[in-house]
Symmetry: C2
Subunit: 362 residues, 2 copies
């Protein structure tokens, strides 16, 4: 097949250079004569690689020393459960800010353990666009163990770029779809977690960045593999970690450093998003229904004004090598996910196709 | 590096043919122009592959229709927790048979939920060899929700090949290190589970085979990703599964079918084990301390009678391309793991080296 651009929301495309390196050394890693997925996680070569990957992630995000970095199994949904299991302690409630499907899904796990104080922060402006109420207006349970929110809703394409102002409350955030796309002031958070399959690596890995003073409060029924303190005390090797995913994440971290780090990525991501949103806004054939200040730079949902053309759009875009543009089944329409690994050439190819398709069907 | 043989206990070597195919199609799967790890788990190509992998596993193990096959995250230790969370119901206790480190580790998760009735089934014969008491002698709590055991202890190299006779009690077994090495009568079990990283594929995946009538009893605090009923109801796609591990497992299943299935594998594995054990038994330089009827065909621990030579043995064997022969840190000595993917040529190379080393150091 010719050159393709893959707009899948996750598992998402990985950087081409990373994939080429991984392929080249697939059967013979570090000249050991075996694959990295065939070596012991307790061997010196693997431990060195794993530690370097953590250090590279710490460098990229400028993670303060009083935070542990955990390489976990179970994905983002696993962390939906791990957060209340580890952080509730003797508190009775958790405050949830909901802005879309993912932040709502997190509530379902919290409700098993505590009273969930839920505040729907979505509203609409005069143009009918969706936006997030400013954090100063959020209704928060001040007695809650922590406040949970999702800075980027992958399905609706709604983002909260500024860190909420919530006083002294512990802030827990699901960064699955924006981690590593721009710098984060980690010190503002109690826990940051992210499934890997968007901006980190393949699925099957999640990363949790946990402030040390929050360790040690796990519910007695917490499965050991979800216990932050146990993971922290074993360098995430309490049990066999997903070793190949960890390795690929490490290659992605090195690639990000070579790209200039997260400030450089933020600029590239802003340029990609601007290219696509400005085209949509300048068209009367396509539309996006999110207010500009809350538009995701990672997931760009858009609709054809005439949705009778959806099937043709999907068929022809796929034939043109622009893959997986169908919107999530819960919202329909189209969605272009343009994570770190998507080059601007891919976004340009999408815009060119969209313009041509509109011209041919107007 | 020249040809190597990798005796790692896990993550273990994978079949050479599988690795070569995976490398060849690493960046372009099914001519989609992208890697299998970059496609949506909800896309038709991935779903078809995943379903075929399940069917191949069902064929290999002759899994009856009233069993669900679940592709899980969290490894074997995750299943240590998932089993009591899902199976305890309104019962107050779990019966555990312990034969080594892994079956003991499972107790620690069960104890969080229920009274653990533990029976240590290890004994020694007149020659001082370790063996497992026959199941007719096991002390079992008849009121327990289920009986848990581990048919193959990876660290000690102790195996129970025959299925225990325990009457009507639900039998739950950790088959992490022997699954797919020989046929299993699945109908005798309530739940069979296995971490993938020995005989199935890369780490980060676990498979649970669950009899349908055991579904629906999960503890209210069970994390959704560990809930057998939720996983069964979503074809293991409640959340994003470890897609690349599932794909590689599927390649391994196809490879096993091409080898002639599990009866053929059982013959090959028996021949490999016989070659190594008979050499050890015929030597006064090496020893194995497990009674013949309980010797593992997957993990062969052995000791140098003169343990002053351990360091030299490990150094020279590694230099000869015989990798990761060091025994587990809890028991010391040596261990050769000879799972399905290890060809008999690798065992022969090990025996040849051992004979030469003994000759040079006697």
């Amino acid at each position: 097949m010719d050159k393709v651009y893959n707009f899948c929301a996750g598992p998402a495309m990985l950087p081409e250079a990373v994939m080429q390196q991984a392929q080249a050394e697939f059967c013979n890693w570090q000249d050991l004569g075996v694959s990295v997925m065939e070596v012991s996680h307790r061997g010196k070569e693997y431990i060195a690689m794993a530690a370097q990957a953590e250090q590279d992630l710490r460098d990229l995000l400028a993670i303060p020393d009083n935070y542990k970095v955990l390489f976990c199994q179970g994905g983002g949904r696993g962390q939906f459960a791990a957060a209340p299991l580890n952080l509730l302690g003797d508190k009775q409630s958790i405050s949830y800010i909901t802005t879309g499907q993912w932040s709502k899904s997190a509530v379902a796990e919290g409700e098993k353990h505590a009273k969930a104080h839920v505040f729907d922060a979505i509203t609409q402006n005069e143009q009918g666009q969706f936006l997030v109420k400013p954090s100063q207006q959020w209704q928060i349970d001040q007695d809650a163990a922590y406040l949970h929110y999702c800075p980027n809703e992958t399905i609706e394409g709604i983002a909260i770029d500024e860190i909420p102002e919530i006083g002294d409350m512990v802030l827990v955030a699901d960064f699955s779809s924006t981690i590593l796309s721009q710098p984060i002031d980690v010190s503002k958070f109690g826990v940051i977690y992210a499934g890997a399959q968007k901006n980190i690596g393949p699925s099957g890995l999640a990363i949790a960045i946990v402030r040390e003073d929050l360790l040690g409060k796990a519910h007695p029924l917490t499965p050991n593999i979800f216990n932050y303190e146990i993971l922290a005390g074993s360098d995430s090797m309490f049990n066999t970690p997903p070793t190949y995913s960890w390795y690929l994440a490490g290659l992605v971290f090195k690639w990000l450093k070579a790209q200039g780090g997260l400030s450089a990525m933020a600029q590239k991501n802003a340029a990609k998003a601007e290219l696509l949103y400005s085209f949509i806004d300048g068209s009367d054939f396509y539309q996006n229904n999110v207010a500009p200040q809350n538009r995701s730079k990672m997931n760009v949902p858009f609709q054809l004004v005439n949705d009778q053309l959806d099937a043709a759009f999907l068929e022809e875009s796929a034939a043109a090598g622009l893959l997986t543009l169908k919107g999530h089944r819960l919202v329909g329409g189209m969605r272009a996910s343009i994570y770190n690994a998507m080059p601007i050439e891919g976004v340009q190819a999408l815009v060119d196709f969209m313009a041509d398709f509109a011209k041919r069907n107007s």
